[in-house]
Symmetry: C2
Subunit: 227 residues, 2 copies
Amino acid sequence: MSLRIAPSRARDEVPSATVERLPVYLHALDRLRASGIATVSSADLAERSGVTSAKLRKDLSHLGSFGTRGVGYDVEFLHRSIADWLGVHEPLGVVIVGLGNLGHALATYRGFAPGGFRIVGLVDVDPDVVGTDVPCGEHSLPVRPLADLAEVAASAQIGVIATPGSAAQDACDRLVAAGITHILSFAPRFLAVPSGVQVRAIDLGVELQILAFRQRQAAHEPGAVSA
Amino acid sequence: MSLRIAPSRARDEVPSATVERLPVYLHALDRLRASGIATVSSADLAERSGVTSAKLRKDLSHLGSFGTRGVGYDVEFLHRSIADWLGVHEPLGVVIVGLGNLGHALATYRGFAPGGFRIVGLVDVDPDVVGTDVPCGEHSLPVRPLADLAEVAASAQIGVIATPGSAAQDACDRLVAAGITHILSFAPRFLAVPSGVQVRAIDLGVELQILAFRQRQAAHEPGAVSA
DNA sequence: AGGTGCTTGTGAACGCTGGATACAAACCTC
DNA sequence: GAGGTTTGTATCCAGCGTTCACAAGCACCT
């Protein structure tokens, strides 16, 4: 393969919808690499990612030019290119607040390390939980009391809230006070934050209700089939 | 309060963006009701839900007219109206496939019952897990082997996939074969399904990577502050 | 009884992101 | 060197969602 120049276009001008699909492509490339496949066409990769080939090519064109006309994409090169563009090479520190069932699930979740994350701290209020060790991928970490949050968060860039809803706003405020600007929340609540702080909220109950609505709707009108 | 007519407009013509926000409003109303607040204005409710008042009023206008001009909304009445419209009164059966950490977290998740769900089955492949009892809200359920999935899914309308990625497509195929048409997947993979089957996918790794990208972007350009 | 001040409900315009199409450029193979 | 294949991109379109602004309506006060 000839020498290539890393395109690396300005990150600002990329549509957010594209940014949200890039990790999906990365996963698909992961699997292709694991299968020993060296080259992939846009049509093939698109099908594995659940999009159309045109959309895939348009997405990639926003960050540069990675393929070879008439051939396709080199799996290894495209994977590295997207990963670099997303900035996976320098892992971010993650602190998890709340180690109930969900917190444990997140801590032990495989797929954080390859994604460029390193869990650096676990925090909870429950005295029965504080002090216990939780396995986090390779290593394991002790759960520390809520009072230590500021100290723990000092080496983190991302906060994850896995507390009950009633404790979520307090946890959020503490994270923000500790300098965390990007938060992933699983609490069933809207979190108020100062401007400049990004919150990405996932509410399992809401997701299920949306699905349930569609189910009931489809059950009531058996004729309708949507994409 | 005077007699009111339930508006109940056609469900089809409501934009999907509105449908996805209704459960959020419902949660906010839950909390207001718990606080003993009887009346709420669109501005107040909107702030608690993380949207603008105009958007909230427009969303509600799609399903009818629930407020009183000059006063606001009756919390109890609006809650019941949205819940009825979403169809919460008749609970849907949920079957969970995969009872690792995430599956356990989902099974024990509080907030399914009030949302109109009833977990009716748990399935896993691991012989060590099969047979164990898992608490699901009020009651508890035994984990059954994968071979029983069709039988278990017979009384379910929604399937939840919480397996590792490698087992997700197989689990999905079995759910579809058992007649399940609406699936919530947490597996880091695109799931291929026949047309008519709805899949809602949540990939924790993807969510974190999107957030991480924004973090690195913000860190690199300290001037930018986005809403 | 009438006026006043809110708040809802909605009509219309706007912005815009994203998606589809089609075609030219480029590369490998024969 | 020709042909076939696949990428990269320019252009256009369409549809959705959001916002703005105002009219309609209710309660309360005088």
